[in-house]
């Protein structure tokens, strides 16, 4: 009888205490870095060899007038240039009066979170079409959100968006320049400048490593 009651108490207490397990938290800031790429499957890179790249990174949102956020521009632009050249592309300067096949645009957004928040990830990201690895994509019930351990804290996150557009293939009707490739780097804006530089360089290299179709055709 006593044993039974002890077991009831232990089991009920365990359920109440844990109410669902979750993984342990990541240890380092770069453990949260994410690199996403997508491309237009109907676009042909055949014959495309040159690109433009602006001399600064566009900042989107409230931080756009903050000069501090531009301190990594050179790192980002150098890494983008180095990786594109590594894939066989030639960088052109629009001031030379030439036309490039593609235009690369890097943009940064930052978001600050504090106290208990419920971020609206769909607002900035959009619904993910689904993974192929497990057969069926996640159904519409799958939604984005922060892991529960991040619900109540104070932190800044940032996303670096890199797009490749074809300025010679403008849709005259919709007046849109088609974006043929998108790369996104997302993570915490935390750590030393040296650490940020390392993370930017390694993740931008990964962005191109997982986009082998960008390699120029001979």
């Amino acid at each position: 009888m006593l044993l039974s009651r002890i077991v009831y108490v232990i089991f009920a207490s365990a359920l109440l205490a844990f109410s669902g397990c979750s993984p342990s938290e990541n240890e380092f800031v770069d453990d949260f870095d994410l690199v996403f790429t997508s491309y237009d499957t109907n676009y042909s890179y055949s014959g495309k060899r040159t690109f433009f790249l602006p001399d600064s990174v566009v900042i989107i949102g409230p931080a756009e007038d903050n000069a501090e956020v531009h301190r990594f521009d050179a790192v980002i632009l150098d890494a983008l240039t180095r990786n594109m050249i590594g894939l066989g592309w030639e960088k052109l300067d629009p001031e030379d009066g030439v036309t490039a096949d593609l235009v690369m645009l890097p943009m940064v957004t930052t978001t600050d979170f504090s106290s208990c928040v419920m971020p609206c990830w769909e607002c900035g990201w959009g619904y993910w079409g689904g993974w192929g690895a497990w057969g069926d994509p996640w159904g519409p019930g799958w939604g984005w959100g922060y892991p529960p351990v991040m619900g109540c804290s104070s932190f800044s996150t940032g996303s670096l968006y890199v797009t490749l557009s074809d300025p010679n293939n403008v849709n005259e009707i919709s007046e849109e320049i088609p974006v043929v490739w998108t790369g996104i780097l997302n993570g915490f804006l935390l750590g030393s400048d040296a650490g940020m530089v390392n993370r930017l360089e390694s993740n931008l290299s990964q962005m191109f490593a997982q986009s082998p179709y960008l390699k120029t055709q001979p």
């Binding site: 109440l16 993984p23 994410l34 996403f36 790429t37 499957t41 996640w138 984005w144």
Partner: protein, 199 residues
């Protein structure tokens, strides 16, 4: 929603505790390891080492018992930093999958011999489970939760330690079909526990 489940669990435990009076009852608490299979194994390749089950059965005769059970299983797999590709997309990030399964089942147990030192049995659990399948990718977390039908056949043996206490060793298979976006879930389990009886 979680508080509703917990309330139900606590209510069930209290009810079970209070009703141990009229006939012979068998109560069991077991712990087990679980090994995922099929599509659930693709989602969670690691074995699960957090599997608890509590059950109460009423003896209908020497060979047949009926009752109910509550079980809680947790599975987790850390894929590390991986690159996954889909149609026209690729994502590189630290990826962790995990799920919690809280199951409520009716239990039927057929004892293959009369009461004795070692009583082999076959057991079938039928019920419903609430599962929350989650995936952490970098800073993001996505997931789905809901109810699934659950079927859990088992075979095992109860070894008497004394008149009213026994050691239970069992193996079984659990299956939860795809439901509401949840992946079909299946796993083998090996469990050990204590069973005590009240007359």
């Amino acid at each position: 929603m979680k508080s509703i489940f917990l309330s139900a669990v606590v209510a069930l435990l209290i009810a079970a505790s209070a009703s141990h009076t009229a006939a012979q009852w068998h109560t069991e608490l077991n712990y087990g390891s679980a090994f995922t299979t099929d599509r659930f194994h693709e989602f969670l390749p690691s074995a699960g080492f957090w599997n608890w089950q509590y059950q109460v059965r009423k003896e209908v005769n020497d060979r047949y018992e009926v009752g109910g059970s509550v079980a809680w299983s947790y599975f987790e797999h850390d894929f590390g930093r991986i690159t996954r590709t889909g149609e026209a997309i690729a994502v590189t990030a630290n990826t962790v999958h995990y799920t919690n399964i809280l199951a409520f089942q009716f239990v039927n147990q057929l004892n293959l011999t009369d009461p004795g030192e070692a009583v082999p049995f076959l057991r079938l659990g039928i019920g419903a489970a609430h599962q929350s399948q989650q995936e952490n990718v970098g800073l993001f977390s996505l997931g789905n939760s809901g109810w699934q039908f659950m079927l859990n056949p088992e075979a095992g043996v109860r070894i008497a330690l004394r008149d009213d206490l026994g050691l239970v060793l069992a193996g079984g298979y659990s299956f939860l079909p795809e439901s509401g976006g949840l992946l079909p879930t299946s796993f083998w389990s090996l469990k050990a526990g204590l069973s005590w009886s009240k007359f």
